[in-house]
Symmetry: C2
Subunit: 564 residues, 2 copies
Amino acid sequence: MTNKRIVVIGGTAAGPKAAARAKRLDQSAEVVLLQKAPELSMATCGYPYYVEGRFKEREKLLCTPTGVVRNVAFFAGAKGVEARVSTEVTEINPIAKTVTARNLATREEATFPYDKLILCTGSVPVAPAIPGRDLAGISGLNTLAEADALRAAAEEKAVKEAVVLGGGLIGVETAEALALAGIAVTLVERMPQILCSLDIEIAKLAEAHMRAKGVKLITDCSVAEFLGRDGRVCGVRLSDGREIAAGMAVMATGIAPNTALAKAAGLAIGETGGIAVDAHMRTSDPDIFAAGDCVEVVNRITGKKTLAPYGDLANLEGRVAADNAVLGPTTVFPGTIDSGICKVFDFAAGSTGLSEARARAAGYDVAVAVNASPDKPDFMGACLLVSKIVADAKTGRVLGFQCVGPGSVSRQVATAAAAITGGLTVDDMCMLDLPYAPPFSLAIDHVIASAHILQNKMRGLMKGVPATAVKAKLDAGESPFLLDVRAPDEYEQMRLGLGETLIPLGQLRRRLGELPEETNREIVVYCKISMRGYEAQRVLEAKGYRNVLVMEGGIMAWPFAREK
Amino acid sequence: MTNKRIVVIGGTAAGPKAAARAKRLDQSAEVVLLQKAPELSMATCGYPYYVEGRFKEREKLLCTPTGVVRNVAFFAGAKGVEARVSTEVTEINPIAKTVTARNLATREEATFPYDKLILCTGSVPVAPAIPGRDLAGISGLNTLAEADALRAAAEEKAVKEAVVLGGGLIGVETAEALALAGIAVTLVERMPQILCSLDIEIAKLAEAHMRAKGVKLITDCSVAEFLGRDGRVCGVRLSDGREIAAGMAVMATGIAPNTALAKAAGLAIGETGGIAVDAHMRTSDPDIFAAGDCVEVVNRITGKKTLAPYGDLANLEGRVAADNAVLGPTTVFPGTIDSGICKVFDFAAGSTGLSEARARAAGYDVAVAVNASPDKPDFMGACLLVSKIVADAKTGRVLGFQCVGPGSVSRQVATAAAAITGGLTVDDMCMLDLPYAPPFSLAIDHVIASAHILQNKMRGLMKGVPATAVKAKLDAGESPFLLDVRAPDEYEQMRLGLGETLIPLGQLRRRLGELPEETNREIVVYCKISMRGYEAQRVLEAKGYRNVLVMEGGIMAWPFAREK
């Protein structure tokens, strides 16, 4: 390890991590970091909060935890890395082992020889070819310059209405940011739901919260045309013909790996469109590594290649690429389980592993359960969370977990992510020994309760039906006997109003005469969160009813309109 | 499964869970729950928050998540369980398979035959025989009656000063509760530290926070005598002779399994003093099960028997006991990893698995690392956490994790608990795919960063030394070269003041001349949190210094007095 020349292309997340790590591993190495943007180490995931105005100081997006701006001088002094900003790489020559780059300010070109090259070229936005796309006032939220422009527009209060295209993580965060900045936001998503890593009945709860916070949310629809006035966007026409006024539009329609340089250099590209790398983050050229949004990685659950453009993984991959570039093949990146989370006003929505839809698409025979229950005792300020746990019906292995609500979603999903990584089964998860005290959780923590419900279902103790399936039954003209087992005062405050019968659980054993006589009749039973619903099912089954289903998560997981 | 008679003794946590679960599993069973206290299903872990006055309604300690009091009528109606309160079991006859109990109000005795018996007799306080123990104003915080009395005393403002004996979870929570209720609190702990599941350097950070919040904390000391006036406590005399005024004293000196009934019935008691049970929570009598604080369970890491009197485990064990009592041996309780957490004013202190001290005591060759780093980006309101991760040096398996600070301690410890349960190694934990977004974590989450530091240490990249060891070196007259690599303004705000030399990291490469000439000289380098300290170590080692140690966690993990 002496006087190795390491060139890193890309200075946002994976790149700076790889460069700094490489230098730490080999102080004698010459490490050069080439960055097209004028800034380095931008906290791109923080852009929505900057746009929102949660903080004013743009520099905070560029700082170390101790408040030092990560600029060229910082990289030179603190990291021993020669960083060049506003420097666009124009060519990689893998035979000569050189990189050619142009300074975007001076237009000067320079050539950098390398022993090892690490590509961290990130992603490019995917923007559908919508007429009017070039009007002023239409942008993405991919670059700091775009964040600056949106922040300025929000601050100037010049724009009253905005449209956000795309309901993925970035679209949702952007919609929230603009709404909190005082702009009336319409979010348009072409799929039937936002946040597609969530199953639809969970996503609908996040949608309902966004609507409650004033965002106009339109799913199953797309923008057909941007409408302009004097060269500036003034609205959109939707695919259903509706027109919506908007002085601003933000494209959050997705991203794709930025592989132009890699392709030009003849590197292998995977089927997903990302740069193909092995477990050491090595490309098809043994002296070139790649990390971050530009690569494809392995999904640890399915074993299939996938794109996982997350900031946290970019850092981990950059670290691995540096280890292997400097030390030889020493460190393995095991892949992703597709964990993600976003703040949605007072809610958070997070997921890890496979949703039911994705697990089925991957060929799994799945068992699932929905759990609506508080994250803490009422006396410590409980927040109601709604979760869904997905397991392999054959092996019991937990495949995925999703959670939405105002409470400790982040703790729940992180716990599940570690459990999935450890290969835990539903039975294992039922017995997790988690840190418990009333300020932090219930005695049976929400994520454990989710496993208990699923275990009960898998053992045949509980027979559940998701709210979406109940709604579908009713919409199809079926008439299950709907049994609400809450207390009368709860019924007065809130109810479905779909012809249900109210018998409080405490009275059920002596009011069985009010139930249908036919023991084959389908009975759908529920309460607020369906703990009492489950008790009721056990009672009714013991009385001979053979077709009793608990509506999972109860009224709190009912994502549709209610009578009250 | 027909008309089985199941008797459960104990109605706090494990007992109600076991009774309700048993009935759900077999609606034809007659389930009787016998409870000595007048209440059922008390949230005992919530008592400190009730004493503090965080909520006024005592009933909240007894309610379901939907606000229904869990009383005899509730258990009858909603659960189908016959609960008897104020009913003390006086004898178990395992031959006749009967339980005899006395109604504490009417003094009437009744005999309950059982097919299966589940013992959930909980714990009894362990109170050292201190002179003056019988004075008025001295109590524990074990029963709801005691909580009521402390709450009343706090509310009446009659007592200005209180002493809490014992710095375990309950002692710390009680001290916090009384302090927040406006009482001047002295906490006396006979060991050198509070919260003995934490290693001392981590516990000292919690102690410093308690002191900053006004609690007078005395470690390495015990109460020798309670001082009285007119039959009421007026102070304590400590083992070192000091006297402290106190109108109230709370004993939080520990608990022991309540095994009197079990012993009298001839059941096997384990070496730890808890009722011996197998993995099905079955005692030495095949028709008697036990769960909760009264049993001993397996530590999943060491494989040894241990006491784990935690409310969350009591619930899990009660569920397992019911499964096996009703269905036969179907469900295994795998044991504990000793996870715990408590709120300490604005901090939380949590741990899971083994501390370094406990791991060494259990015979492990351990590798450890301390990590001081924020839980979120600065622009989202970062909180600085200090963690310690403990691994098996041979296998790399993570054995334990501790975390103290004002931020997301609960998430960090829960994640680590799931990781430890999954048998993850340090390398595995380095690659965790956790849900990341700026409102919830850093791109490299704190728990992952802890693993990175430990991996760096285990690979020999970083050579760390805990703050406690640096202090011990200095106290022993050694004179390592202390190198602070922060910026001058940071140094002006806060510094150790122990003769350290300040050279900012960014200037280190060109100011090497200011370092000792002898490359064998021990250099202890640090910054605020020792990320820069680590960089500096790498620089110095490359320059030939062979004895450079990073003070782990930097100044933020220095639990002793500073110059400023």
